[in-house]
Every structure is written in C-alpha cells, then in structure tokens.
C-alpha cells in the first residue's frame, strides 16, 4: 500500500507523543489504486472512511483529523480491524499485527509522512 520500503515502528513526535508508524499506509488513500473505497454512505462527509485492499482483502479505516479535537482526533490516522476479533479487547491490530483493544493508543496508526518530529 505504499511506495516506501517496509517500516513499522513507534516514534515520538514533536509534542512528545508516541505514534505507531507503518510505511505501507498511504498518506492519501483516495489516490492509492490498490485500495477500494467501501465507506458507508452516511460516514462519507463526516471524515470516516473504510478501504479494502483489492489484493489481500484487508480492511483499513481512515479518520480525517479535525484541528479542534484532542489527541488522535486532531490528526489523520488509520486503524486496522482485526478480522478475527472476538470482542472489544482484540478489535484492532497494532503496527506489528498484534490484537489490541478498541480505542487503544496502539490501534492508532500513521504513515511516516504524516508524523513530524524535531
């Protein structure tokens, strides 16, 4: 899903916040030919999108950031739903593909270009 060599890791941004970075995530999913936009019509326009990898079938969720929101809500970010989840405690996958809870820090994923640090 990206033009970079594969990289997965956690970095600290200029505010001292830890962010999980995955190089395969595109900075603009709407322009990635490998992704199919499967967003629910009611979610469109509210900044909450879902895409399906045409090759693997993997679904990713993409939330547009809003500057007036706290935390991750202020920044464009991704989530990877866990297709084998049994509940909220393993609903998403972290950067390494491990199950993590809904709303957890580790469930928020970023492409490298969208994270800045000094």
């Amino acid at each position: 899903m990206g033009k970079h060599s594969r990289f997965r890791g956690r970095i600290i941004d200029c505010r001292g916040k830890i962010k999980t970075v995955i190089s395969e995530l595109p900075i603009n999913p709407f322009k990635d030919p490998r992704l199919e936009d499967i967003t629910h019509p009611k979610a469109k326009g509210r900044g909450h999108y879902q895409f399906k990898d045409r090759e693997t079938g993997q679904i990713i969720e993409y939330d547009k950031g809003r500057p007036n929101k706290p935390g991750h809500g202020a920044h464009d970010h991704y989530h990877r739903p866990n297709p084998n989840s049994t509940g909220k405690y393993d609903e998403y996958l972290d950067g390494a593909g491990r199950p993590v809870p809904d709303g957890s820090e580790a469930s928020h994923l970023y492409p490298p270009e969208s994270v800045w640090w000094k």
Binding site: H48, H79, P101, G103, S104
Partner: protein
C-alpha cells in the same frame, strides 16, 4: 465536570449500552485512551486511561436517527457501537456510530447518526464501568 468540554476524547471510544425508558435515556460510554496531559481539568480515568461513565439525558423531547424521527424505544442492536463523533451542543447530543458485531466476519455495514434533544444532560463518571475497557 462538564462533559461537553471533553467529548472529543470519545472519538474511537465505545457506546456500551443504551437504556431508554419514558423520557429518559442513559448512554453508557467510554472514551478512547486519554493522555492525562491533554485534559483541561483533572478527571478520574479508568484503569486503562479512559473516561468512562453514563450520559444521562432527561426530559427527552426528540430523537432523530438518520434524519428520521424515532417513535419507538432507542435500542442498541449490535455488540458494540464504535464512536466516530460525539458532541453536546446546548441540550442536544449528537452521535455518529459505526456498529460492530463480533466476530467481524461478516463485517456489519451499519452507520448511524443519532441526535437526542433533552431538557437536562449530565455525566456520571464511573471509572470502573463494566465493559468500559
């Protein structure tokens, strides 16, 4: 605490339960994980660093789900409500929810926009809320 100042933390949180009886609605909710340094005022968080509790809406005057007035009881029909948007403006609660069933195969494709107008809205903070993560 004035919950309307903190609704932004509920993006990526959970709508855990809905209790609707007569003109009263109680929404059990938990936020996403919160960095305490982002809080404008001290709030007792759950063990997993979330704002968890119940939103009480009393004197409910109007419920709108997906642009249609709801004439029946508001219910939670799926295993979890993933909160995409949550805000309180004056006496109106606005929620955008992506519903989830477990396991996620097949994926539920239901998204609801819920607006509830009441006479009084207040937050009951419950850090040890059951299933609040």
């Amino acid at each position: 605490m004035n919950i309307s100042e903190h609704t932004g933390f509920f993006h990526d949180g959970s709508l855990i339960e809905i209790e609707h009886k007569n003109d009263k609605i109680i929404l059990s909710m938990s936020s996403a994980e919160v960095d305490e340094t982002d809080l404008k005022e001290p709030i007792e968080l759950s063990e997993n660093d979330r704002i968890a509790g119940k939103l009480h809406i009393e004197g409910v005057k109007n419920i709108i789900v997906d642009d249609e007035v709801l004439e029946v009881t508001l219910k939670k029909e799926y295993d979890n409500g993933h909160i995409c948007d949550f805000e309180i403006i004056d006496n109106t609660v606005n929620l955008a929810i992506r519903w989830v069933n477990y396991p996620r195969k097949p994926e539920v494709d239901v998204f609801s926009v819920i607006t509830i107008e009441g006479q009084k809205i207040y937050w009951e903070n419950i850090p040890d809320l059951e299933d609040g993560l």
